[in-house]
Symmetry: C2
Subunit: 211 residues, 2 copies
């Protein structure tokens, strides 16, 4: 990030940084990342363009700030998981918070960031950082649930994770593209599928006699 007025040293965001990121999310979702200008963001945030530039030097810096805010939020969510509790229930709660309770704008922004990332290595690297945070959290949670017996010991973790990831990305695509998309029903499908897949995406048993 190239902000000049640095965020507080503890890694949290200042009230001003938060206000700018919120304003930019509204503007980018409405006008599109490409068409939106720093001036639009400043107006939405209720500050002068000159002041805005003290916090973020460019639209790219704002996008990086948004991505880092999301990544930090997800990381914090995963630290709240109770290893002694039912993992699938907790993942569903966490997932629903990100998928339903947040406004559709978030999905539109995510789609724009992905479309940029497909051609822009810096954005692709930000996306990879977020994925790493999510995957790290999921791998730890799933391995705990296998140890406790909540999930089958022979669950094919890699495929299970990849299937959930693809469904979650697809959920955000659908939510962004279709204003009529029923996010609650989509999440119901996703989590029913997650629970089903936890029982059937199994590794082949090496000692299983095959006909």
């Amino acid at each position: 990030m190239t902000s000049i007025a640095a965020p507080p040293p503890d890694g949290s965001l200042s009230e001003r940084h938060i206000r700018i990121l919120d304003a930019a999310e509204s503007v980018f979702a409405r006008a599109g990342f490409h068409a939106a200008t720093m001036h639009d963001v400043a107006v939405e945030a209720g500050m002068s363009p000159g002041n805005l530039y003290r916090y973020f030097a460019s639209k790219d810096a704002i996008i990086a700030g948004m991505a880092e805010r999301d990544r930090a939020q997800i990381a914090a969510d995963f630290t709240q998981l109770d290893p002694a509790g039912a993992v699938l229930d907790q993942l569903e709660d966490l997932g629903r918070r990100h998928m339903i309770q947040k406004p559709r704008e978030k999905a539109i922004i995510a789609l724009q960031i992905w479309a940029e990332a497909a051609r822009n290595p810096a954005m692709a690297s930000m996306c990879a950082d977020i994925d790493e945070t999510v995957i790290g959290g999921l791998v730890a949670a799933i391995s705990g649930a296998k140890a406790s017996g909540e999930l089958p010991a022979n669950l094919d973790d890699a495929r299970f994770l990849q299937a959930i990831f693809m469904m979650a990305d697809g959920f955000f695509c659908r939510r962004a593209v279709d204003p009529q998309f029923d996010a609650a029903a989509g999440a119901d499908t996703l989590f029913a599928a997650m629970r089903g897949l936890a029982q059937v995406l199994l590794l082949p048993e090496p000692d299983e006699a095959r006909p």
Copy 2:
């Protein structure tokens, strides 16, 4: 579509229309839909800009042409399904053709179109047309497979379709965003999950005694 040199009356595309759409896919994937110009497309297609405008009046018209070409291809694929054959095997073959054999460019273009569609009703309507074609084909195939006994009679079609759709959209996101994405392994996961979900995403039995 606002092309001036109309495609052949049988609905097929002329060699020139095909050449332009292929060129535009390369240019849009490389430069991005927003940054790309009609001039870039003309250069890539090996024709003068003036000639290009005889076929497509704008970038939006080219995008509409791409979307309609994809939709027609998908519709044709579904008419090839053999109702007497194993449906899941045939859907997997069809899916793999679209997911793996086509270049990554196609996924990058799809993501750009979705990102546009999130804010542009005309593009959203093109996406909805493609979805309708896919859903129509899938609903017919699944209902045949339920009748033949290949799929459980109490399969929750709506959730099954939505879960597959989300995974497929997520597959294209991942393929577009991550140049290292292993498309074959991703497709293996998707189709293993599809086969698993066909067994577990069931409607509640109305006469099932619940404890």
